[in-house]
């Protein structure tokens, strides 16, 4: 049964993970995600789960690795500097094809940066982040409601593809309080993202070799050709994810003269700009990727058939814009279009008026 609650993004997300069947949380304190470990430390004992405050983010992600090895649903959360430390473990999970959910409540960087919201981990999130030839599925919610729903879906996606899934929240979303409908997990399985798709049994899990031969989980593939064929297998899986699971929301004018492109908190602010532009008689649409990887290239390319002016809004210094350019270039030469960037890095927040103003300039 669904339940309506008024909750902070970080806490709602943590509860969504528990609803999704996650009983193993490993974390380390870092702002602005501290509500997550605090919530989990209180809730996990109530549901016979395990909360463990690890000695570092490095240890926390490797504990997620260890739990995943046994076939259970496990997660960790952190914020940007901590996510950098987790990249080692994420690479190993990708190599070993272990499912798991990693939440990044993004803050400003580089370095210690600031604790203000930012989107500057876009490249790190969408380009693998750690060493080697791999991909993580990256989900980018823009409201607390969507954060809750995508958190539940993230565990299904991770299990379905045997792949780590990254949720890109940010300081705004994590700290914001909104009323949320907590979905019924079984309902969500039936009607949500993976509706109609069976989750494969975890026959690979290590629980002791009872009634079967001993099993092995590894990413070291030293025999000639072994790693190449493994990486080709991974590439096939990634191609299937790109084909089946790229998602975007497109709203606004069906025949736009300008397309705003934004994800996460920036997209939420761009929605405000859309209203302003509409009131001013400007035909504008918003392209909001829900998956940053796989990038919803087709959805954006279709918009590029109609529009040749684009305003990319991001709380980073021109990272997301590269994927917008690549997608638009599927349809049109970049010489024929105008793709402008409204970047607010380091904790700056693009307000709807500012976005609408820039959109008018791009059209001028």
């Amino acid at each position: 049964m669904s339940q309506i609650v008024f909750a902070k993004g970080n806490e709602a997300m943590a509860e969504a993970a528990i609803l999704a069947g996650c009983r193993y949380y490993f974390g380390y304190p870092i702002t602005p995600q501290n509500e997550v470990p605090a919530y989990m430390s209180r809730r996990m004992p109530e549901v016979n789960g395990v909360f463990l405050q690890a000695e570092s983010e490095v240890a926390a992600i490797n504990m997620v690795f260890g739990a995943a090895v046994t076939g259970v649903r496990a997660m960790t959360s952190s914020s940007s500097p901590g996510i950098s430390l987790k990249q080692e473990g994420i690479s190993y999970m990708a190599g070993c094809e272990l499912p798991g959910v990693i939440v990044n409540v993004v803050r400003g960087g580089p370095g210690l940066g600031s604790i203000a919201p930012a989107q500057s981990d876009y490249w790190q999130s969408t380009r693998g982040g750690g060493h080697g030839d791999y991909r993580t599925i990256v989900l980018a919610p823009h409201t607390v409601q969507e954060l809750v729903e995508l958190t539940m879906d993230a565990f299904d996606l991770a299990d379905f593809y045997r792949n780590p899934v990254l949720i890109l929240s940010d300081g705004l979303l994590g700290q914001m309080m909104e009323s949320v409908v907590m979905p019924d997990p079984q309902e969500r399985r039936k009607t949500g993202w993976l509706a109609g798709r069976e989750l494969p049994p975890k026959t690979w899990a290590l629980t002791g070799a009872k009634g079967r031969a001993p099993q092995l989980i590894r990413s070291l593939l030293m025999a000639p050709g072994e790693l190449e064929s493994h990486n080709l297998h991974l590439a096939e899986k990634y191609a299937a994810i790109e084909k089946n699971d790229a998602q975007a929301e497109i709203i606004g004018d069906p025949n736009p003269e300008i397309v705003l492109a934004a994800y996460g908190s920036s997209a939420r602010l761009a929605k405000g700009a859309l209203e302003i532009l509409k009131a001013q008689g400007i035909r504008a649409a918003l392209f909001r990727p829900i998956t940053l990887w796989p990038f919803p290239t087709q959805a954006l390319a279709k918009l590029a058939v109609k529009a040749d002016r684009f305003l990319v809004v991001e709380m980073s210094m021109g990272q997301f814009i590269e994927d917008v350019q690549l997608a638009v270039a599927r349809e049109k030469s970049l010489k024929q279009v105008r793709i402008e960037l409204l970047a607010r890095p380091g904790g700056g927040i693009p307000l709807p008026e500012e976005i609408a103003g820039r959109a008018r300039e791009v059209l001028a």
Binding site: E55, V58, N62, M63, G66, A67, Y92, L206, P214
Partner: protein
């Protein structure tokens, strides 16, 4: 003429020949570990974690479930496995670099939390797999690939005595140091592993067995010369024996 089988391969090991260098201690360590698992009747409920280092290939020989782990993160991986599966026998196999260098934070905190798994720590005073570089366990004066003039305490500090170091933590209920270069010592080392398993099965706390091992290929010595060096130079720094046993009393003891 009737035949009587007086010795067989332990069912704890797969029928495979190891690829370790001549004289290397890993083969012996694997065997006594596998025998101890088999004697604990735990082959079907063991999950082991293999380190980054020569022994990553342990899973080619051990006849039980095994996962790899990132370098040094072995105790973090084992921590989660044991937390999820508290009734399984969880074994963490580590080398000098894995435990005493890159994985120092993970081992100290797992030990301090009293995680209920057993660590087998192979101390051969250098990094084996990467070609014999200095490890935190390298002896003063020892020449390695990265201490061509011999390790000095001024530049590189002192050999880390991991078993004694960890034994200070209240979460550690068992710590012992054995060696693998003489039959009698091998028997004693195996008895340490068996006792460590008892402590784990009793859910008493963390257990570690450090095993001194030779690494002839990287030491640049014959196996026999390596044994002599171990006795001459390692034993004074790394004394053998039981360091701590705070587990439940043995039956009949």
């Amino acid at each position: 003429m009737s035949e009587k089988i007086i010795f067989t391969r332990t069912e704890g090991l797969k029928p495979a020949a190891t690829t370790y260098c001549p004289g290397c201690g890993h083969g012996v360590a694997h065997r006594i570990l596998a025998e101890a698992v088999a004697e604990a009747k735990a082959l079907e409920r063991t999950v082991a974690v293999a380190p980054v280092g020569c022994a990553v290939y342990g899973y080619d020989y051990w006849n039980f479930d095994t996962t790899e782990a990132a370098h040094g993160r072995t105790p973090a991986v084992a921590t989660a496995i044991k937390r999820v599966l508290p009734d399984r026998l969880v074994i963490c196999y580590q080398g000098d670099g894995d435990m005493a260098s890159i994985g120092m934070a993970e081992i100290v905190h797992a030990a301090n939390r009293g995680e209920k798994f057993t660590v087998i720590f192979i101390n051969n005073a250098n990094y084996g797999m990467t070609g014999g570089q200095m490890a935190p366990t390298t002896l003063i004066g020892q020449k390695t690939a990265t201490t061509p003039y011999g390790r000095t305490s001024e530049e590189a500090g002192y050999p880390m005595k991991m078993a004694e170091f960890l034994a200070q933590l209240p979460g550690v209920k068992y710590a012992a140091r054995g060696a693998l270069h003489k039959p009698g010592l091998i028997r004693t080392a195996k008895s340490y592993i068996k006792r460590a398993f008892e402590i784990q099965e009793a859910k008493a706390g963390f257990s570690i067995v450090e095993l001194l091992s030779i690494c002839p290929a990287n030491w640049g010595l014959s196996p026999l010369e390596s044994v002599q060096k171990l006795e001459e130079l390692m034993l004074p720094i790394y004394p053998l024996g039981l360091i701590k046993d705070e587990g439940p009393k043995k039956e009949g003891a």
